[in-house]
């Protein structure tokens, strides 16, 4: 049998048998990483440092090229010089930087300009030929969401991407990474999706929600499904309620233009918060792969009860910060921020009471809240368990007891803690809630990789588990839309409740949970 015959009959792609079950990661294929919005903040702060660290750890294929595209009229050299600042914090040695810089290229152009995309196409071909990249391309949209549609159309028109057919392993591949928010309501998300699908098949689309790249978020699944002791009590029999908090100390910063249109509901709830909710409430997937995991997430999102009409005021609170203090420093109110309307009704805080209508969670409320200018930065999920059925101890002894809680701290201070009652070491019985803590930093002694690093590597390796599928986005908007519409329609009546910067949100949010005889946790 000659060589040609072997090629002809061989399976199209044979997995490298040496890689199988290997302890090391599947190596990323050589590819060209195209960044749209290469002069922007996200590229500086996140993408380039993440790519650089991956290169430093030799997780990028050495032939990989990175091509920036933006309006700025830079040369390759100027682009490299700019990006050098971006990686300074990542600790670049001269030789590492030289190697990395050699892979950076730049094409200037306006997103609306077809000619610029043709020029980009020529640059890509040239770079691919020089560096021996087989034509794999990944397009990262690090631009304002308003540009996504234009980018997709022009990538399509210029024939830069190759649409995948049935064969998953087709080489060369094209992929697109799209930042959140994907759309601004259900309809626009669907429209954008339809447009994206004219150029890319769904399995080529990587909708990024950087929360999912966080080590501790991935650990939610690991904790739930690799341990025998949690899942049996992870249901309505044992859980009293669940609280999810995404608290930020920062204000609107320079993003007023975007934020005025979005508000906390679109900025955080629609994506990060609902993702956390899905991970904590979903059923066990049959496998840890992109299809099984995302199928389960979509399933639980479908079970999420919609809040609309009369339910709105009882189950949803929106707030807006006024001037106050953060860590002892005075900060302006939202309406005083540059770029914000003096009578803005944008929500900078949202608290919701949610129900997951399925067998596991029937009747168990999920209280979620997010806000800007809260007293501390903190993202956590707390599972509060039911109290012991019968209390043996006197009321005085129990004064310090609180119900058992399992808290997953996403950031900062990543870790898990379990709260339970213990006897205070004195004569007689006094009971106090104590915490058993697992602290990532002290247990593993290394810093967890940055979320972008994880996600970019996953996208390079073709693993979409930690990205949001189109039907997930659909469900998220389908949940969020009626609330936003409800608020918009009652706009004339009452705007968001005001809360002072540096406090834990408006009193209406306290009332939301206290009506049920519960309290927000001290996060």
């Amino acid at each position: 049998m000659n060589a040609r015959a072997v090629l002809a009959t061989a399976p199209e792609i044979r997995a490298n048998p040496l890689r199988e079950e290997s302890v090391t990661l599947k190596a990323a294929d050589p590819c060209t990483f195209v960044v749209f919005g290469a002069s922007g903040d996200l590229t500086h702060r996140k993408l380039i440092p993440a790519l650089f660290r991956l290169s430093k750890q030799k997780l990028l294929h050495p032939q990989t090229a990175i091509v920036g595209f933006a309006r700025r009229e830079w040369t390759n050299e100027q682009f490299r010089e700019e990006m050098k600042h971006a990686v300074e914090s990542a600790g670049a040695s001269p030789s590492e930087w030289e190697r990395f810089a050699g892979a950076l290229f730049y094409q200037s152009g306006v997103f609306e300009d077809h000619a610029a995309f043709r020029a980009l196409g020529q640059l890509l071909s040239k770079v691919e030929e020089e560096r021996g990249v087989p034509g794999n391309r990944i397009f990262h949209f690090a631009t304002p969401p308003s540009e996504y549609a234009t980018l997709v159309r022009n990538i399509g028109a210029a024939g830069l991407a190759r649409r995948a057919l049935r064969d998953d392993h087709a080489v060369p591949w094209s992929r697109v990474i799209i930042e959140k928010p994907f759309g601004r309501d259900l309809q626009s998300a669907r429209e954008l999706n339809a447009l994206v699908h004219t150029v890319f098949a769904e399995r080529q689309v990587y909708r990024i929600d950087h929360y999912l790249g966080k080590e501790t978020v991935q650990n939610i699944l690991v904790m739930r499904f690799s341990n025998g002791i949690f899942e049996p009590i992870w249901n309505r029999q044992y859980v009293d309620h669940v609280q999810i908090t995404v608290a930020e100390t920062i204000g609107v910063e320079e993003r007023a233009g975007y934020y005025e249109q979005a508000g906390a509901m679109r900025d955080i709830v629609q994506n990060h918060l609902l993702q956390l909710l899905a991970l904590v409430s979903m059923e066990p997937p049959a496998a840890f792969d992109d299809k099984a995991v995302r199928d389960e997430k979509v399933k639980v999102m479908r079970a999420l009860r919609r809040i609309a009409g009369e339910d709105l005021s009882m189950n949803a609170v929106r707030g807006q910060y006024t001037r106050g203090f953060i860590e002892g420093t005075p900060v302006p109110g939202y309406r005083e921020e540059p770029g914000v309307a003096a009578d803005s009704r944008t929500d900078t805080y949202v608290a919701l009471k949610l129900w997951v209508d399925n067998w596991r969670w029937e009747g168990i409320p999920f209280y979620v809240r997010t806000g800007k200018r809260l007293p501390k930065q903190s993202t956590e999920i707390a599972i509060q368990f039911r109290a012991a059925p019968h209390q043996l101890f006197s009321r005085d002894a129990l004064a310090g007891l609180e119900p058992n809680a399992l808290v997953l701290r996403i950031q900062p201070d990543e870790g898990i803690s379990l709260r339970f009652g213990a006897k205070v070491p004195v004569q007689g019985i006094r009971i106090r809630a104590v915490n058993m803590d697992f602290d990532y930093g002290a247990s593993f002694m290394v810093d967890a990789p940055d979320a972008y690093e994880t996600l970019i590597l996953d996208a390079l390796r073709g693993d979409a588990t930690l990205f949001t599928r189109h039907d997930e986005v659909d469900q998220q908007w389908a949940f969020v839309d009626p609330i936003i519409k409800g608020w918009a329609s009652s706009d004339s009546a009452e705007g968001p409740a005001l809360y002072e910067a540096g406090t834990w949100g408006p009193t209406e949010a306290d009332a939301l949970i206290e009506r049920d005889g519960r309290k927000w946790r001290k996060a």
């Binding site: 100390t249 203090f325 006094r430 106090r432 915490n435 946790r521 001290k522």
Partner: protein, 384 residues
Amino acid sequence: MAEGVVIDTTFWGTRQSGVAALERELTRLRRAQSAHARELGRPIARASVLNLIVYADREEHARRAARSIADLALRHPSRAIVVLADRGARDGTQKRIEMHCRLPIADGARLVCYEQILVRARGDADDRLASAVIPLLVPDLPVFLWWTGTPPLGSRSFGDLLRLTDRLVVDSADFARPEATLPVIARISDEARGRFGLTDLNWTRLTPWREIATAFFDVPAWRLFLDGVTGVSVGFAVDMDGRDIHPSQALLFVGWLASRLGWRPLEALAPSEAGGLLFAIARPDGARIMVRVRPRFERGLDEGDVSGIRIKATAARQLAEFAVKRQPDPRHQTATVLLDGERRWERTMPLPSPAIVELIGEELSILGSDRTYEAALGALVELA
């Protein structure tokens, strides 16, 4: 001195540029300690059972409190946030909040470490102080607020901190004008009901006196006298020149008796000889009880500590006197019962005089509120 006190960084740790930087530094310190402990084969635990906020407005008080907490770290490993409000800084000092942190080793064996944070407010930072403390609290753990000095009702930072607190610890021995402050404390206690517990270290100091006074009436034959009290006299220690008068502890004793026995006010508190107080209250049957609270100079006592109590009563046509006196040593007290002037019973027993560390250590193990104290305080306020 416009810059106020210079912070001793070997004691308080290095200055950090904000909460995030401070938490990073603590993580780094913890990591360094665990690495070191692992080398020695001794694991180190990050133990934390409570948040303790200490408010002080003088560096020396802040430092003393920090040392007490260090002594307590084994029993109550905590995150200790010492707030030093440097109001002394002149007007015009830029309002500023600085933070320092350290991870002192609580015991020689390097088993437990606790976290010590200094939040130092310069200038009048009342409006923003709490915003610097809240993000430092360890989630989920009970919060104790130990306020040294007189709690300033109406101060923004006090109110803000109180809202987070599970138990407020004060020491009425420190109150400059107890007759003005104790009612304030009573009001806080009223508002606190169900939200947080309140405790007074001075009340804890009073415990042995309350116990012995209670013990008198465990004898059934003498219990009758409780309905026939005619006079109460409580002595408290002052220094030699009698300048600083701190009658809180003595007053709490009276308040306690009144609350337990249902006595009601008759004549308002009136000053008497040398800073003492003389007033009349009514028994449930309407009879008059003369109450005298008087300062005594006694060596070896802390100012304000009760030095002796005397309860006079009649029942069944007998005149009884129940007295407890501190011995000159002053680690013992002698309890005496006289019936119609005749000594019927006498016993000398040790009188514990716990240091602040022990008092606070005891308080940190309780979370609920102390109803007896609240009642005593309430009765006292009515009398005043």
